[in-house]
């Protein structure tokens, strides 16, 4: 596989953004398991998604923690 081309295609981003069908997502995870270059790139994409979601963080309403704990 030409991993550079695969990376350029945006397949990994589509995977990380959850936009693939179950079958396509499965293909991407197999490819990632097989090629370290892809795994490294996906790791960076996920790091970016983490920074992005951290930026979105919002404190849940007061009392939510106790409510959830009570339901566990």
């Amino acid at each position: 596989m030409n991993t550079a081309e695969y990376i350029r295609s945006g397949n990994l981003e589509a995977y990380a953004l959850g936009a693939l069908s179950a079958k396509e997502a499965c293909e991407v995870s197999s490819a990632v398991a097989m090629y370290p270059d892809l795994a490294k790139e996906l790791m960076e994409i996920e790091t970016t998604m983490q920074l992005f979601t951290t930026w979105l963080a919002k404190q849940p309403p007061a009392g939510t923690e106790e409510r959830i704990l009570g339901g566990l």
Partner: protein
């Protein structure tokens, strides 16, 4: 370790560490705060019940939890029928707005995609929002925005790259 023992301290740690992030994502998917809180509860129950099975080799804990939160929130959105309604409106709004000569920024504003990351190109913002927060597939995005599938994917790549630049500052 605390997490695996499923202790109260473990829960408190998990909640304090990730509660706000997960809630932020959920609330971006389902705008209504009561629904978002319900989803957050479901998410923590799911995380709690599955943490022992969480495979550290398969990926990072954070990403694993984020995926659970996103999936639960999108399920909620779909169960409320909002997504189908939203889909049609989104498509129509964008198409009619474009036909009316509105710029993409204004078109996305009408469907509530604004207030995202400062500096992120509007067309990237739209793609990220539709995929990550509204659960659209590549195909659905392609049809809604009337752009080829390959373009959707390369735009996703460009969007993530721009986010990376913005957040690495």
């Amino acid at each position: 370790m605390l997490l695996r023992q499923q202790s109260r301290e473990g829960f408190n740690y998990l909640y304090r560490q990730y509660g706000a992030v997960l809630y932020g994502v959920i609330n971006k998917v389902v705008y209504d705060e009561q629904s978002a809180e319900d989803v957050l509860q479901d998410v923590f129950v799911k995380i709690w019940n599955n943490i022992a099975q969480y495979d550290t080799n398969k990926g990072r804990l954070y990403t694993w939890m984020l995926n659970i939160a996103r999936n639960c929130a999108i399920d909620k959105l779909r169960s409320k029928g909002e997504i189908m309604k939203g889909k049609i409106q989104t498509g129509d709004d964008i198409v009619s707005s474009v036909q009316n000569g509105m710029r993409t920024e204004q078109a996305t504003d009408t469907i509530g995609l604004h207030n995202m990351v400062a500096g992120l190109k509007p067309e990237y913002e739209t793609i990220v929002t539709l995929a990550y927060f509204k659960g659209y597939t590549l195909d659905e995005i392609s049809k809604t925005l009337e752009i080829p599938l390959g373009t959707v994917k390369t735009r996703m790549r460009a969007a993530i790259q721009q986010l990376r630049e913005i957040f690495s500052k």
